[in-house]
Amino acid sequence: MAVFELRTPLSPEERAEKRKLILRDTIALATILVITAVLAILTYLLFASFTHHREVLAQRWKANGERAMRLGKPDNAVQALRSALNYAPGRRDIEIELAMALAADNRPLEATAYFNSLLETEPGNGLIHLQLARLAASDNKPSDAEEHYQRALDGTWEGDGYVRRREVRLELARYLISQKNYPRAQAELRTAAGNAPKNPDLQMKIAGMMEQAQDPTDALTIYRDQARLRNAPLQALLGAGRTAYSLGHITVARESLLRAIRHRDFSSLPDSEQQAIRQMYAISNRILDLYPDPDLTVRARAGRIQTNAKTARARLTACVANPSAAAKLAPLQAQWQQLPPLTLRALERNPQLEQTTMALVYSTEKQTAQVCGAPTGDDAILLKLAQAPQAVQD
């Protein structure tokens, strides 16, 4: 600038001109600086007002979208959330809500594409993977669904990630159950149960799912834990009774079912359910009545074995009346004929005979059930006992 060049060989008039030029340039620069500052302030005020207005609009449209989702109007939600995103571009929560609305609006392709785009910018986001898993599940793509569920479990979560991951794991287990992939569902549920707090509701939920995943053993463990609590919930008692019964743990089943029937909330159950539980309890009682418990006196046990043998023989005799069944059951008949007379004395003195007789009773009930159809009465009880005779007292 001119200001740096005062020491040039100039005439006095030229020096005066140069000073004027310097002054003019300085004033012009100062003016432009002031203009820039004023313009910056005006722009800032305009921008601040505009930004506030945009935030208000974004919030309003987001709320509208959420309301529409709650009201089950995903198409309106999509529109509202898109508007919200226009005023708050890049807001991840709104983007995810929009993608969820797209999915709810039965636009899986758009929703998947949107979630995939979101995922590209945030590959480890657990929520996005969860949504993609749900979309894949609804689109009947089990491998994609399981992969996204797994990535959701491994991904990052805002807020309480521990709780969110557990919910995802349970959702994955539900999905696996629906796919009849029971072994993997059982594994996920065991992990969930291991990490879950001792919250009765949660424990009951996991136990219920374990039952669905055909894992009554682990379900029974949880039910029994809950049943041991003071003021144990009715569902825990019912669950313990039910799973113990299905596993053949009849002693436990009877005890749990009895507590359930005596529970104050039992009467609030539907009548049909009450009836079924009472029946299960009655069967359990009968099983224990028929079961040759080793803790019984020798005579009492021999008496039960004798009775059971009579019942089974009668069942066999009735069954072989049918000629086609007779051929199939001929070896069984031969086994019965080889047995010595089953007097009380003989049974009392010969524990081996007790075992052989009861084994033949169980075998008879199983084979006749296959050949002549499901039994009734004590035969049915003995058949139930035959499934897991050693488990009765576990």
Partner: protein
């Protein structure tokens, strides 16, 4: 000049004679006065202009950035106020708001005649025709009218107006500082780069566009100032609007080389769309301007009505600048059929809006069409070739570059624009492939670029920058001829030199002075020296004080011209050995070389 400005068909573009009078009264006279005094200024402060140039570039960048931020806010606010915060199909206001906006724009254009058009050609005209003059009134008019037009839903963009606003700011500042006419002329592109950089939030693309389209050549003299201004404006813009690109770009990927085929298909479609877009604009604009003058007040309203109807019947995305829809397309939110429909309807809507004379730019519509086309091709690929891994966003991004290359005919800018906006060099191969295909198709089917076509329609003969870019300039080596004159050393006596010249009957000799410089002596000079001095006198003592210029074979041929006819021949020096001559050039060989071009 006035005849050129008026043009044969479109006197209204720059308002004809009256506008020129205004121009002369308001600016040219003042600048002429300043230009007259600028020689005095250069004597008083020889480096003043040069230093002010850089300082003012920063001010231009900052002020342009602030204005562009305000411009964008104005557009958005007008949109919210008129079309509502969430316009959607089926709203009646979509029909009448653009029409009302058109009426208002037409009325305002009457008061701000310099505001017509996109802004690119007007800036070029300022550079090449008006000595860098863009009036304050034009800047104000462009700001107001473009924001109304775009805000009310006309299918136009804010980038080209931003470019002109920046150029106008630069012109005003340069004039206020009484810069020389030469400086004044180059200020417009500096401001243009600043305005465009702020509008795009992409300084490299803006700089390249201005060099590629506005200036037409690389000029080291202004590059520094352009960069300073562009960076300053982007810094200001980012301070307000954030550093994120104008589009929310998803992760772009290119993993499978088989996808190049799909990108090539995109390039072909892009080239064809670019040609269709250019031809539609070229056709309709001429016909609408040929209509009676009074209809020019109604054309923007009619265009607005038609654009509004497109929006009303389900394609409201084509209204306004459409950045939000570009984002949605990039995130794969639209089905491919809808994307292609949007591309076609945007082409129609922009042709209507722009041809009607509504002020606004074509960058955003170009990007919109490209993005929809790209996303359409990408979605189609996803649907029918799911094993390919390219994201829809990648295709949309490449599609934007494709239209940029094919329609605006700026291949270099188009590549850098995609890379800068996408922030990912991973897709450079598809970008270059698709852009090149689109560019070549567009160029072969539509030889005249769009801005040049508009300039011709407006009666302006602006230089064809596409041709300029591809011109191969002549160099000195192209006119070089072998040494055919005697070479003597400066210490040789005049008698020996005269004898040597007499033997060859050459009309001139080259004298190598002891300090390594050269002198070309004519036979007449030698005769005079021989008559005036003793025969033993070294020849260098008989030479005039000036010396031959030092020219090298790779310099532009133009560089040699100023030294004729002072010198009969000019020796061309070897760069590696200054004592070695590559040959000589004469005026006649240079002229012959030019004539043979």
């Amino acid at each position: 000049m006035i005849q050129k400005l008026r043009g044969p068909k479109f006197p209204s573009l720059f308002a004809g004679k009256s506008f020129i009078k205004n121009l002369l009264n308001r600016g040219f006279l003042a600048n002429g006065y300043k230009a007259a005094t600028s020689s005095g200024v250069s004597k008083l402060a020889p480096t003043r202009d040069e230093r002010l140039f850089l300082v003012l570039s920063i001010f231009i960048g900052v002020i342009s950035g602030l204005l562009v931020v305000s411009f964008n806010i104005a557009i958005e606010w007008i949109k919210i106020l008129t079309l509502g915060s969430a316009p959607h199909a089926g709203q009646y206001r979509l029909i009448f708001v653009p029409a009302l906006g058109g009426i208002l724009a037409a009325v305002l254009v009457y008061f701000f005649p310099g505001s017509r058009g996109s802004g690119v050609n007007q800036t070029k005209a300022a550079l090449y025709v008006y000595n860098g003059y863009i009036s304050f009134r034009t800047v104000i008019g462009k700001f107001i009218i473009s924001s109304i037009a775009i805000g009310t839903g006309h299918s136009l963009g804010p980038e080209d107006p931003s470019l002109q606003i920046g150029a106008g700011v630069a012109s005003i500042i340069a004039r206020k500082f009484g810069m020389s006419r030469q400086r004044l002329r180059v200020f417009a592109p500096i401001g243009a780069a600043a305005g465009l950089a702020a509008a795009f939030n992409a300084p490299i693309s803006a700089i390249l566009f201005v060099i590629e389209e506005v200036i037409g050549q690389w000029s080291a003299a202004v590059l520094g100032s352009i960069v300073l201004a562009a960076i300053s404006s982007v810094v200001v813009e980012r301070r307000f609007l954030g550093a994120a690109p104008i589009f929310s770009i998803p992760t772009v990927t290119f993993r499978n080389t088989r996808e190049l085929f799909a990108y090539a298909v995109l390039g072909i479609f892009g080239g064809l769309f670019a040609v269709a877009f250019s031809r539609a604009l070229g056709y309709l604009r001429v016909r609408l301007r040929a209509l009676p003058r009074w209809t020019q007040f109604t054309q923007p309203a009619a265009a607005g009505l038609l654009v509004g109807l497109i929006g009303y019947f389900g394609f409201f995305q084509v209204m306004g600048r459409g950045y939000g829809s570009i984002d949605q397309a990039m995130h794969g939110e639209f089905a491919w059929k809808f994307l292609l429909a949007l591309a076609v309807l945007k082409l129609v809507a922009t042709t209507l809006s722009y041809s009607s004379g509504t002020p606004g730019g074509m960058f955003a519509p170009t990007l919109f069409i490209g993005a929809m086309l790209g996303a359409g091709v990408g979605s189609f690929e996803k649907l029918f070739f799911p094993h390919l891994t390219g994201t829809v966003g990648s295709y949309a991004l490449v599609g934007m570059g494709v239209l940029f290359a094919g329609f605006l005919r700026v291949p270099l800018t188009s590549v850098f624009m995609v890379l800068e906006v996408g922030g990912n060099y991973g897709i450079i191969v598809p970008v270059i492939l698709a852009n090149t295909i689109a560019y070549l198709i567009a160029r072969s089917l539509q030889p005249v670029p769009i801005f040049e076509m508009f300039a011709r329609q407006d009666g302006l003969e602006l230089p064809s920058l596409e041709e300029q870019r591809e011109e191969i300039p002549l160099h000195i080596e192209d006119a070089l001829e072998p040494l055919s004159v005697p070479i003597v050393q400066g210490r040789e006596p005049i008698s020996a030199v005269s004898a040597a010249v007499a033997q060859t009957s050459a009309s001139a000799i080259l004298v190598q002075i002891h300090d390594g410089t050269w002198y070309a002596m004519t036979a007449d000079e030698l005769t005079g020296a021989a008559a005036a001095r003793t025969p033993e006198t070294p020849i260098e003592q008989a030479l005039k004080p000036d010396r031959l210029p030092t020219l090298f074979p790779d310099l532009p041929l133009d560089n040699a011209l100023p030294y004729f006819p002072r010198w009969p021949v000019i020796p061309i020096i070897n760069r590696a050995s200054r004592g070695t001559l590559e040959g000589i050039v004469t005026l006649s060989t240079i002229l012959k070389r030019y004539q043979s071009e």
